[in-house]
């Protein structure tokens, strides 16, 4: 009975204990649930520590890649690539080593770090190749930085990816950021593979966020297409300490910039740039020059060179003179005068007029034309044909023609110039045209005199840009159809055309085809027998015209002289031009070359440096353009192909080939093809060979192989 009671007591105690446990756990569960409810709905953490209670999220702003600029054949003119700046935390781990309990171990670790840093310093000059920075320089930089607790010491600036990879392999740097203190900063940088070529047309930016130079060239004008739009993504830390995109957060896809396809042909640009530089270098007083090459049919600009001498005497692309520098063009404007006279049916090329010793007797203020007196003297005549007057670029002839034909109705002549678009700045993609407004005198204005009319006839009293002159000549080459010059072909997204800029017509017919043909004939005579005879031997027949004009001087330059074109010492500034198209009979390109001089005593003529430059450009383009190559048809002679004898043994010391794993046939081929003999045993694949692969044997030696 007593035992039974004892058992009963024990069972009850156990039951009570279990109930106690159960109640304790129950209370804990209630407390935990209560705490959860409290934390979730009631408790607010201290704002300073909120971030520590939330899962780590990183906002990642994705910078768009700036679009590329390409030439019309797809060659890259500007592109964006990351460049790297490398800094070093020289003080890395120093405190940790110093605070080690085992001082000896800490000192040893510090010594090891310094030793590796010295090895790094020894290798850095080999990789970075920077002038004046040797191993001693880097050693001093790093170790001084470590002593002075410097955590951001510049090691390399603007290095490319390959160099960065090499740096990462160097001692110490190969151990990563935490050990070496290597800090890598990536910066998207604009690259111009052709350096300064067409720099003024392409423009310049350092990177996509550079807003300083954005008004220049295509980089500036098309910045809104090129720059793209930023993207945003949220990242989160994974259990493995990696960062992944947080798919639960919002995401804004990055929009990379669009590509701009220009009309430029970088090879023609290179030819034009090189020719202009080489020829300008011949005359010390030349301070700048420009070249424009146009595609006749479309008006597309294939090359646009603008070179100005800087303070160091080097020619650089500084200002777009071709589109932004209006000036009196000189005799190249005589073609405009002649077109007007021909189109109005007032002259024929063979018409003659009296030479009158080059004197306009009815206009006493006009200077004598010395070219006419020379012509009279050389030819013993007192009459000159219009074509001869054009060939020798006689001012007298063109003044006389315009005075006689338009003297009573000058507005008719001036209106023609407006029809040729010389009176207004047409819209052009690049910025300078906005400020480059041309000027044509108005016969209705108070200051107008007959002298203005005869002055315009020879390219004075008007101000036009080289691009406008080229556009006019291009219209002549294009049978009277005047095309608007343009430099952007299309806007593209990964090769897909988003917007296409088609050629635009400025004037469907500035003159009849007959007039264009007659003028072409006259322009050809200029290069064959006239002032541009330097172009006679060009690879293509060229039709073109020279022009030389004096430039208006500023008050400062005149220094008291009354003549607006010369200073008190008689020095003048010139603009010398050659403009034309080629091949003359089937024109494909129109080009203009203009050079500008500083104040000088001598003269510079369009028939010299500009014509020589033009010839170099013609010759260069002709050799480069496959369209003008000889066509070899069925009967062409093509060199007979000959079979090359199969070379067998690779010489007396050819190494023995590795035959392991080959079948018998392949092994025999390999042995005999290398000039050896063979013996074999077994079947299957080669398991061993004598002599071994790679050893040297003589031609004809036997190689034994065992197959299994």
């Amino acid at each position: 009975m007593q035992n039974h009671n004892t058992e009963e007591k024990g069972r009850r105690r156990t039951s009570n204990m279990l109930i106690l446990f159960h109640v304790v756990f129950l209370c804990m569960a209630v407390a935990i649930i209560g705490k959860i409810v409290y934390l979730q709905f009631i408790w607010e953490p201290d704002p300073r520590y909120v971030k520590y209670f939330q899962p780590k999220k990183d906002k990642n702003e994705i910078d768009p890649q700036r679009g590329s600029i390409i030439d019309y054949k797809g060659k890259l003119l500007a592109m964006s690539t990351p460049m790297y700046n490398v800094h070093m935390d020289c003080y890395v781990l120093k405190e940790e080593y110093a605070s080690m309990k085992d001082k000896e171990k800490g000192a040893k670790k510090e010594q090891e770090w310094i030793s590796k840093a010295q090895q790094l310093a020894d290798k850095l000059p080999e990789v970075l190749k920077e002038d004046g920075r040797n191993a001693a320089y880097y050693r001093d930089l790093i170790l001084t930085g470590r002593r002075n607790k410097r955590r951001y010491v510049a090691i390399a600036k603007d290095i490319d990816h390959s160099t960065l990879l090499e740096l990462k392999k160097l001692p110490l740097f190969c151990e990563g950021r935490n050990q070496s203190g290597m800090i890598i900063e990536e910066e998207e940088t604009r690259q111009y593979p052709y350096d300064g070529l067409a720099r003024r047309v392409i423009g310049y930016v350092r990177n996509n966020s550079d807003t300083n130079a954005l008004h220049i060239g295509i980089e500036g004008e098309y910045n809104h297409h090129l720059r793209g739009k930023k993207g945003v993504e949220w990242m989160k830390v994974t259990d493995g300490k990696g960062m992944i995109q947080n798919m639960d957060s919002s995401f804004v896809a990055v929009e990379n910039g669009l590509d701009i396809r220009t009309t430029l042909d970088i090879n023609i640009q290179d030819i034009a740039d090189r020719s202009l530089r080489a020829n300008m270098a011949q005359e010390e007083d030349i301070v700048g020059g420009c070249v424009v090459v146009l595609d006749v049919e479309t008006g597309a600009i294939r090359a646009m060179v603008n070179l100005q001498k800087d303070k160091r005497g080097e020619f650089r692309e500084v200002f777009n003179m071709a589109a932004g520098r209006p000036a009196e063009p000189g005799s190249v404007f005589k073609a405009v005068t002649m077109t007007t006279l021909l189109e109005d049916g007032l002259i024929k090329l063979e018409d003659k007029l009296p030479t009158n010793h080059g004197v306009m007797s009815d206009m006493p203020k006009v200077n004598r034309d010395e070219y006419i007196t020379s012509y009279e003297r050389n030819n013993g005549v007192n009459q000159i044909s219009i074509i001869d007057g054009f060939k020798i670029s006689s001012n007298y002839v063109f003044r006389r023609l315009v005075k006689d034909n338009y003297g009573e109705k000058p507005e008719k002549f001036i209106n023609r110039l407006h029809e040729y678009n010389f009176g207004e700045a047409y819209e052009f993609e690049l910025e300078e045209s906005g400020s480059a407004r041309p000027r044509i005198p108005d016969p209705e204005s108070a200051g107008w005199t007959i002298y203005d009319l005869v002055s315009v006839a020879i390219g004075y009293s008007v101000r036009v840009t080289p691009l406008q002159v080229a556009t006019f000549y291009n219209a002549i080459a294009n049978n009277g159809k005047m095309m608007k010059p343009y430099v952007v072909e299309s806007i593209e997204d990964e090769g897909r055309v988003v917007r296409n800029f088609k050629p635009q017509i400025l004037n469907g017919s500035i003159c009849s085809k007959a007039t264009a043909d007659t003028l072409t004939r006259a322009l050809k005579m200029v290069t064959l027998e006239g002032t541009a005879s330097r172009l006679k031997n060009a690879k293509c027949t060229v039709a073109g015209k020279t022009g030389t004009s004096r430039m208006h001087l500023t008050n400062e330059e005149r220094a008291g002289s009354r003549d607006p074109y010369s200073d008190i010492n008689g020095r003048k500034k010139h603009q010398a031009t050659f403009v034309g198209f080629f091949p003359a009979d089937q024109p494909k390109y129109t080009a203009i070359v203009v050079v500008y001089t500083g104040l000088m005593s001598n003269n510079v003529y369009g028939g010299k440096i500009p014509a020589m430059t033009f010839k170099d450009i013609v010759d260069g383009i002709w050799a480069y353009d496959t369209e003008w190559g000889n066509v070899i048809k069925e009967k062409g002679s093509i060199p007979q192909m000959r079979e090359e004898p199969i070379s067998t043994a690779k010489g007396e010391d050819a190494p023995v080939p590795d035959l392991k794993g080959l079948g018998l046939k392949d092994a025999i081929f390999a042995i005999e093809n290398n000039g050896y003999r063979f013996s074999h045993s077994g079947t299957g694949h080669v398991v061993s060979q004598t002599p071994k692969a790679g050893t040297k044997a003589k031609k004809g030696d036997k190689i034994s192989i065992v197959l299994k």
Binding site: P82, K539, V631, I632
Partner: protein, 114 residues
């Protein structure tokens, strides 16, 4: 009314008592739903497992993205380097520096037509 209150109090008392004694689930006959509870647990486990696997995959994706980016950068640098070498003047200069007799063509290439 009094009876109803007594009934509710009795039910509440028995619920508390069964919670304390630990047989509340049996009282509610939850044992019948045991397979479904197991199923719910399994779904929870699968969900956690899938999330883990997804994270692992995304880590690989992220790693590959970095790798691709590196290759793209390498490609861009090489493109830039080689495009610069493509310039006619550069080629001529390099030929000159190496003492080569090869020069830029002086006439256009012949065209072979069928």
């Amino acid at each position: 009314m009094k009876d109803k209150a007594t009934g509710i109090a009795g039910s509440f008392k028995s619920i508390v008592k069964s919670i304390i004694s630990g047989d509340i689930l049996l009282l509610l006959r939850v044992d019948k739903l045991f397979p479904y509870i197991l199923y719910a647990f399994m779904l929870g486990w699968v969900s956690i497992f899938m999330s883990y696997k997804m994270e692992q995959t995304l880590r690989v994706v992220e790693k590959n993205r970095v790798e691709l980016e590196t290759l793209k950068i390498y490609h861009a640098h090489k493109t830039c380097e080689y495009v610069g070498l493509d310039r006619i003047s550069t080629v001529e200069e390099m030929l000159k520096n190496t003492g080569s007799d090869v020069k830029a063509p002086e006439k256009p290439a012949d065209i072979i037509k069928r």
